[in-house]
Subunit: 197 residues, 2 copies
DNA sequence: CTCACATTTGAGTGATCGCTCAATTTGATG
DNA sequence: CATCAAATTGAGCGATCACTCAAATGTGAG
């Protein structure tokens, strides 16, 4: 009954995610969103309540995708350590291909001011969840005997997330291509060195 | 002759630096600056030309301080590797003391949009200069025999800067205090492990 | 076809943005 | 003390911000 929305909600969210990821929260105006979502202000507010809420939904979407990607590859039976190594190499490759918008979570963590409690808290929570996904992956590696049994998966996950963070900021410096790939490769090598003998 | 400014230029710049470092470029309004600098809009524009130019000056001031700190400690004759280890520990300590505003350069690199060429380019240049300062410090360590003679100081500097970047983003996640200190300590330990035998 | 209602529309809200400039204040000089 | 140039002042500029709502529009049911 009655009229149906002409747009697909998830398609709109994807457009918002891309826009916010590239421009950040403050620099993205409703005018930008109107163009990207192909929606008029009234529709945007009817569908997503506010700019802030739309941002939160886009952030969730991004983080869920990151986690799902890891979980999915595990279920496909890929070797856990190789998944992680491919993950860090993919970041460098994405940057080299100039499709780089950075990590939405990292961008948000560093952009948000102390006043914006809601966004800040959400970004922190999601970042911790991503770290947990890394931990689960390393746990998988331990169970499969890829890593020594006495490895601390949580500590390793935090170390790895820090490497990812570092690489992502390094990408923002736009050094030459080889340097970024070397940096990613060096992290992959560090992971290789942790393998059970 | 004639009237003198009632404010000290560098004091004003320091206030601007602190404000921009904590709130970022977009979220800082002229009203905020008026309060922090205790200057009226006309004076701000007479002295600093524009919000963007004031931001660039503040960014320069921050980066120059970082570089000077390293160079100064070297001149005092401190051991190069200990300077670097103290540097990474200081980041964790600053965060633990809740005086954390993050690194102005990192914040800027990740906040700035592709359109803001001027700010982006400056931040990238300054970040590269800081990396050079790290490289000089490591070169010092090589010359002093603290590191093996075949160490590549530029590669080591980039690795170290990536660790600093990673730690700074980790700080923005507000994990518990011990985790941050552990992460910093682990970087310090990695440096220790590179010492010449 | 008509009605009921979910949905879109877009001009317009008040607030705030970065910024300007005519008027005023200040202080060193003669 | 009078002069004058440098500097501050703050009301207010046009533009843009996030957002609203009365009116127009599309759609499924009867």
């Amino acid at each position: 009954m009655t009229r149906n929305p002409p747009y697909d909600r998830d398609t709109a969210l994807e457009a918002a995610e891309t826009l916010f990821r590239h421009k950040g929260y403050h620099a993205t105006s409703l005018k930008d969103l109107e163009v990207a979502l192909n929606m008029r202000p009234g529709s945007i507010y009817a569908a997503f309540k506010s700019k802030e809420n739309l941002f939160l939904l886009a952030l969730d979407r991004y983080a869920r995708k990151e986690q799902a990607s890891l979980a999915c590859q595990l279920e496909e039976g890929q070797e856990a350590l190789q998944i992680v190594q491919a993950h860090i190499r993919a970041i460098a490759a994405e940057w080299a291909a100039e499709e780089f918008g950075g990590c939405f979570l990292v961008n948000t963590l560093l952009e948000v001011t102390p006043e914006q409690d809601t966004i800040r808290d959400r970004a922190q929570t999601l970042a911790r969840e991503v770290q947990s996904a890394f931990r689960d992956t390393f746990q998988h590696a331990i169970d499969a005997g890829e890593l020594p049994a006495d490895t601390d998966p949580a500590a390793l996950a935090q170390w790895y997330q820090m490497q990812v963070f570092g690489l992502r900021v390094l990408c923002s410096m736009t050094l030459n291509c080889a340097d970024i790939i070397d940096a990613a490769e060096s992290v992959a090598q560090s992971i290789e060195n942790k393998r059970a003998a």
